[in-house]
């Protein structure tokens, strides 16, 4: 057993406290809490004192963190500025073309005040199109996508065969030249054997294969007569001589030289070998960002054959199933709860603290509890989504029910309606717009929650697919999953909006 004691103490008294503490230490090194008597002027800190002290000293650490974050954020500014400039450039180009093509006599173009006229601000459809196309173009540019003409690509990493020469000097001062043939190959491609003429002399030529984005250490002397073990060392790369003390590599002033041989960077290391890093170009590694068409082919493949023995449709179906069941259950409980809260003081008083307390708790924070309570199968995840939808729907129904204008209720009473009739024909229809708004929010939250819940524990589901893919570094599958999640979430919201327009056409017109 281990016990930790937090002391509140002056510096002078601290030594005494340690002496006491040692005295209370039983021979095998354990501290027995009961026998420790802090000296005068020292107190064992309570939990709260410890907490508040630690909290107050947090500032220094956080200041460091904010510096790191700030540096990163500042380094992102040039990219942001460039992006904004592209947006503006597209806008001016588009406007110029448009004004050239259309007449200037419609009402909107006759308006002189457009800045600040919010009724004149609408989502510009061509801007949306250009923005999405540009996203894909940038994606293709940074990944060397085959969908783009190659002049739009950023410089690609070097692949193919190239060579450089090295000059070796033996312990007795004899020199010899030899060539290193480097073959840089794409990942996953069976490499061709490097074919080269070994040449002749004291140093023979070498061949090395490197996977793109990789690097290789060449032990050039394995086939040479001049060996490092005999005191031979490299004195020049491509005829460029250098002076480097191989025996004193720890001295910071004695930096190893580095040579750009055109297709790669060659650096002798302190053991005398040559480290070759082929030119990596400006593109993103597929591990970080695969090209769009790679993601698309992956999508086709997984849609056909599934991933890890589960079809894509099953992954997607399970996620949707959970969201829909969870949302329906949440709405089925939340809406009546909200009505009760909107219509009765007692119910409102009863449930307000519960709802207001539970609402800000993100469902994800409850995942560990839910797994302990309900296990990792469907019940647990659906319970989580039920909770996510419940509070949102309850609050929407509450504000919908209490938002009915009293004149409507009065009018219904004077027309002879009973309480139930007023609920059925006045309060419920009046609250539908609010409930639809709540349902849209709840659906969005549920969709976000289901993916996160599946990241933690599931056997099927889009989130699960992403987790598994991340373990195998299948970035293309992760990206595909993210795009599917986004598209489905967007589709759900569009459907809800459509339903809203159909079912509550009076929204905002009361």
């Amino acid at each position: 057993m281990q016990t930790q004691v937090n002391l509140i103490c002056t510096r002078e008294r601290l030594g005494e406290a340690f002496t006491e503490l040692r005295a209370a230490t039983v021979p095998n090194g354990q501290v027995v809490g009961d026998t420790f008597n802090p000296p005068e002027g020292c107190n064992v800190a309570t939990g709260w004192e410890t907490f508040s002290y630690q909290f107050s000293t947090l500032g220094g650490r956080l200041a460091e963190e904010i510096q790191t974050v700030g540096t990163k954020a500042i380094s992102a500014i040039p990219a942001l500025v460039i992006y904004v400039l592209i947006i503006l450039a597209c806008m001016f180009a588009y406007r110029a073309i448009k004004s050239f093509l259309t007449s200037k006599n419609d009402y909107t173009s006759l308006k002189t005040v457009t800045f600040g006229d919010e009724s004149a601000v609408r989502s510009d459809f061509p801007a949306s199109i250009i923005s999405i196309v540009l996203l894909f173009v940038l994606w293709g540019t940074f990944t060397g996508s085959a969908l783009l003409p190659s002049f739009l690509h950023l410089p690609a990493p070097f692949t193919g065969q190239q060579s450089f020469t090295y000059t070796v000097e033996g312990a007795d001062g004899t020199r010899a030249d030899a060539e290193v043939f480097v073959n840089v190959v794409e990942a996953g491609v069976a490499p061709e054997e490097v074919v080269f003429d070994p040449g002749e002399g004291l140093a023979l030529n070498d061949g090395v294969e490197i996977t793109v984005y990789g690097s290789e250490l060449v032990t050039w002397d394995r086939n040479d007569e001049l060996k490092r073990a005999d005191g031979a060392r490299i004195v020049a790369i491509n005829g460029e001589e250098f002076d480097y003390d191989f025996n004193n590599s720890d001295d910071p002033t004695n930096a190893a030289p580095s040579f750009d041989v055109g297709f790669a960077r060659v650096t002798p290391n302190h053991r005398g070998s040559l480290n070759i890093i082929p030119e990596q170009g400006w593109q993103m590694q597929p591990l970080y960002l695969p090209a769009p068409e790679v993601v698309w082919y992956r999508f086709i493949e997984i849609a056909k054959y599934g991933y890890q023995n589960v079809y894509l449709s099953v992954h997607l179906g399970f996620s949707l199933f959970r969201v829909i069941v969870g949302f329906v259950l949440g709405a089925a409980v939340g809406i009546p709860l909200g009505y009760a809260m909107g219509l009765s003081n007692w119910f409102r008083g009863w449930f307000d603290p519960i709802v207001e307390f539970m609402r800000p708790v993100p469902p994800l924070a409850l995942i560990p509890l839910v797994i302990i309570w309900f296990g990792i199968f469907e019940v647990g995840k659906i319970f989580l989504l039920f909770l996510a939808a419940l509070w949102i729907m309850a609050i929407a129904a509450r504000s919908g029910a209490s938002g009915v204008r009293i004149t409507k209720v009065h009018a219904a009473y004077s027309l002879g309606a009973s309480r139930w009739q007023i609920l059925r024909h006045v309060i419920i229809p009046n609250s539908l717009p609010e409930i639809f708004t709540g349902a849209r929010v709840a659906m969005g939250v549920c969709w976000g929650t289901v993916v996160a819940a599946e990241l933690v524990a599931a056997t099927e589901g889009i989130g699960k697919m992403i987790t598994v893919a991340s373990k195998f570094q299948n970035t293309d599958i992760i990206l595909m999953g993210v795009i599917i999640i986004g598209l489905v979430g967007f589709g759900i919201d569009m459907l809800m909006r459509l339903a809203e327009r159909r079912l509550v056409p009076w929204k905002g017109k009361g």
Partner: protein
Amino acid sequence: MTGLSIDNLSMRFELPNGGHVQALEGVSLDLKAGELLSVLGPSGCGKTTLLNIVAGFLAQTGGKLMLNGHEITGPDAERGMVFQAGALFEWMSVRDNVSFGPRMAGKKKADYMGNVDHLLEIVGLQDFKEKMVYELSGGMQQRVALARCLANDPDVILMDEPLGALDALTREKMQSLVLKLWKETGKTIILITHSVEEALLLGERLIVMAPRPGRIHKEYRLPFADMGVGADLREVKKHPDYAPTREEILNMIWDMEEEIMGTAGEEA
């Protein structure tokens, strides 16, 4: 007896800070069946409180309210209400709004549909039956509200500034319509208004209320409503008694408003 009788009505309620408000005191009024009473007064004189008590939305703290021989205890279909705005159900069509009362009473469609269509014709909305109410203009919406109230066939119609939100021209047309409906249906109507002209033109009887406590200050019997039925209301305004009465009432209300402002100034 038929008609509405208000006897020594008072309304006093306590405020959270310990004070109290005497909203109404000693209000007595007898309204025969078929009479049209307009109620005027400065703001805060208890007009709306009076109407809410008659409608049954508020319980009085003193006095008695009788309609056709029985006491008024709560809202009921016998007392219809027309509000200034926002009381229509925008999730229903015009026809469904107007037939709301009979539908709630569980009447058969065949029994009420004829009357509903007839009323829509009277208020000039026969071509808008299937429209949703939010597609109509403000004046049309108030005509729907009138028709909805009449479709329920109440004994008394209570109007709380029903034309207050309309523009001047629409308002004039609607005043003629109210008179026409009143004459055709023979309903007892209590009309609360801020407009002295409207009160004069529509009220067969007119009471001016005074504030603090809310009470009846003066009562008039006027000939203009009868003259206005089926006639041009602008002609009625040329009657020799019209302008002097209007001035008298305006001055009365003006004095009361001044008094309120004066005391309010002292309190501040």
